[in-house]
Amino acid sequence: MAQDKKSSALGDRLRENGMLLALVAIVVLFSALLGYQGKTFLQPQNITNIFLQNGHVIILALGMLLVIVAGHIDLSVGSVAAFTGAVAAYLTVNLGLPFYVVIPLTLLVGGCIGAVQGYWVAFWRIPSFIVTLAGMMVFRGATMWMLGGQNIGPFPKEFQAISSGFLPDLTGIGQPHGLTVILVLLAIGAQFWLGFRARARDAEFGMEAEPMALFMGRTLLIAAATAFVGYQLAYLKGLPNVLVVLIVLTVLYAFFTENTTMGRRIYAVGGNEKAAKLSGINSDRLVFACFVNMGVLAALAGMMVTARLNSATPKAGTGFELDAIASVFIGGASMTGGSGKIVGVVIGALIMGVMNMGMSIMGIGIDYQQMIKGLVLLAAVIFDVYNKAK
């Protein structure tokens, strides 16, 4: 038993590696299956599309992780994304406001919606399930009311660029995309540098080190994947804006959750709210902040989807909340709060995204797709529970 205890930290890490391997395995599986059908899975257009089509899920999942870690849930994000998308459309198309006014204004609306819901959850102790279930209905209705049952669109080019734009090549090389090459090389360098720094720090703290082979294997795998994706993108149109936003947000949230006092406190509140309170932590305010943040991210996701579809529709965002929640749990967060990592959540969302795309290209019907996705979610959580019980 003593040995089991000792390796709990290592076990967490093995789990993360397991998630990564699952993602790789799924990619390999689809490459093989599609190769058999005579199609190429890993071609530049598909790779770009994975990020374009799933960017909103990743963004929602980032916020959802904080909400779930704090011990709550937000069912309203799909409706809020639809509503904020409609707001952005109204401001842009009907009022003719420029994108640099519309974007911050829409994010503000999202933040206010999050604040209203968070207010009831945090300060009135109304269960978040109820509050956000109500929010889900209210904002779906509000979206229809706002759109009057019609679509609003199309959008000017600048607004569409949120989702379909690419980073301009400032180097002027053009083919391959110079800036993309430079950024990809920097990213690979950063992975190695950060990885070795973390190892050095673990050694200094006397933490059980991850075996060198495992560490190198993983880092090389990620580096190779980065290089491959970068290479493919550089020969298409370069880095999509969405991917840049995703990477920046992921790094930001990973840093926030692991390296700031506020992030740490959110985990403590989710882990044991009473103990956190008695340690002088204002749990109500933190829960409130998580919901405000969720609202802002929902607005961002809403704008992305609206820009991609080039119109705001009453049905937009249906089921987004479930995709985001599923990503968080596939990513290893605990249902009861207090645990879960940003990296895991992003991998979880990518697993869902890759499966969506792979199955669509294979021509698998939406009926089977739903069933398979449901089973993957169940399998991931069963795997988790089994691992913990062992």
């Binding site: 038993m1 003593a2 040995q3 089991d4 205890k5 000792k6 709990s8 930290a9 720090r201 200094e204 703290f205 006397g206 933490m207 059980e208 390296n259 700031t260 006092t261 506020m262 740490r264 406190r265 985990y267 403590a268 882990g271 044991n272 009473k274 103990a275 956190a276 309170k277 008695l278 340690s279 002088g280 932590i281 605990s334 207090g338 645990s339």
Partner: protein, 509 residues
Amino acid sequence: MTALLEMRGISKVFPGVRALDNVSLSVEPGEIHAICGENGAGKSTLMKVLSGVYPFGSYEGDIIYDGETLACRNIRDSEARGIIIIHQELALVPLLSIAENLFLGNEVAKNGVINWGEAYQRTGELLKKVGLNELPTTKVEKLGVGKQQLIEIAKALAKDVRLLILDEPTAALQENDSQKLLDLMLELKAQGVTQIIISHKLNEISRVADRITVIRDGASVSTMDKHEITEDRIIRDMVGRDMAHRYPERTPNPGPVLMEVAGWNVWHPEQGERQIIKDVSFNVKKGEIVGIAGLMGTGRTELAMSIFGKSYGQGHKGSIKMHGAEVDVSTVPKAVKAGIAYVTEDRKGLGLVLEEPIVKNITLANLAGVAMKGVLDKRRETKVAEGYRKQLAIRTPGVQQKVVNLSGGNQQKVVLSKWLFTEPEVLILDEPTRGIDVGAKFEIYTIMKELAEQGRSIVMISSEMPELLGMCDRIYVMNEGRIVGELDRSEASQEKIMALILKGEGKAA
């Protein structure tokens, strides 16, 4: 007389650890047999082997019960043979009635239809047997812990118990409820029920037990008869060393008054008309250890928590001074800033984030101390945690270990570390040694002594009078929300404390 139960050479191995190593236990019919041992010594494992939680075949050794080999596959099998275990955590359903609980899984029914008339009648008889004057229809949630414990025993009686096993039955009980329970045990003994009691409380054991078996590190160390039982011998066998001094030697050297609470009044958080703390005044000097004695439920924890950031109650009235100047303690951060720390009695519920590692628990109350502008310096954080690990001798492979895996004593040290890191001047320790074993208790006492020598003031709340008498310079006695007396180290005794409590009760009535 042949033994009712004979466990011979029991060994039980878990992956990586040998929990029981060739343990033998012999229980005579009609006796009360006590099992003592430190936490983790293997007492509970032994009882789980006996009751079939670990099925026949998963352990080595023989169990002879009533003349034949016992081969239980599960708890049902052992219960069918009249072996019934009452666990430390009560297994009652709060929203069901007493009668429903008594016959849960064992209903008075024919073809699945419950015969309520007979059930209530039998419940009445059983309640009488355990000396409980309650209606069979009363919901269990309405009863206190002491009465719930009696319901558990009644439940065992409903199943025709022959061997009753009580796992730390008085751990959550107040003094008078404990006494009632021990009396009931003696009564059941007179009726011929053989009993095994697992307990930490040596005075209880010497009161009811006929024989004692001491278990240490998964092996039985000794079995002694009633006339051989002395507390010192039990302790020596339990920890494997002589403990001439159960409390560290210290010379009190109190300085000027540091914290002064005056005219403190607090009302119940929900029932605003109920006053819980009534006009309490007390003080602590620099470098002094002050005790607060009293029965459970007299408002000691409520007093401490209401002082600490008004974490309990409403309508707080009164003043709190530090160094002679009034301080604001209306929130936890303000109380911490004023130099007060409160170490809770409920380690798991209020003290720790169990699924987080030691290091994150230690810095939780003072994250600013390891951060710059809200960004954590993990190197400094680990250094801080390592420092406390060494200083307080927290036994763990490393500070990244989750606290859920630590023993009670080590968990208590983690909570202590957390509050020491806030650099408090006054530490309020609420039942600091509850649920931890004798060896770890001594370590906690030693830490308290060192803190006092460093000039910190300690307020120690405890239900165990011997430890108050052993550690404190002065003792305040509380009863029903009031301070009913103050005793100096030189004059304090268990009798005097009890006398003050009883006198206070008379006054309140």
